[in-house]
Amino acid sequence: MRSAIVDRPLDAAALLAEVSGTGHGAAVLFVGTVRDTNDGRAVTGIEYTAYRDMAERELSDIVASTAARFPGVDIAVEHRLGTLGLGEASIVIAAAHPHRGAAYEASRVVIEETKRRVPIWKREHYADGTREWVHAGSGTQRTPEAVA
């Protein structure tokens, strides 16, 4: 069981290997990457920033509570910060379990909880040279009031 907020490129295969073992029959790997469009706008990259100490604590809490909910699961997750280019991975979640159902569900819980409560923010860089903070589920906004 391991979680980390890092500043370097993520290695999905390494995280998969980290949770794999002969006691597990199933491993599920989730890779979140920078997409080339959002809300119809051409994106050239995304800048991730965090309230780092709290983000590490929240991510660690999520892993621990997910492990408690799915006994026997092994989880490794890393979230990257900094400016990422198209196709680069911002988050990798590896979950392994003796059975596939728990591996899938644990993986899904970790990503949903991460998006719900880990204090990380992203600013998209667009092809037209502009940049905007993105708020999950509400597209982009120019000022905080828009999502208050």
Binding site: K115, V118, W133, A136, P144
Partner: protein, 80 residues
Amino acid sequence: MPLRALLFASYADAVGAPEVEVDLPDGSTVREVVDAIRSRHGADRLPPAPLVAVNQRYASAETRVSARDEVAIIPPVAGG
């Protein structure tokens, strides 16, 4: 008590600084801290009831804070 609150991402941009300092009576609530911050020039662009973390845990509007606490105003998160 003097109290500093951390700001991030769009909130830091809106206020133009990564933190703000306010002066409040000891034992003030999170709600009172937010109100004090928003009454400052430039900080009125923050929403009236943002998420707030105290010592790196999400806190309710009624949570009481002291000068030793780490207070942070948290924009809607967008990790993953």
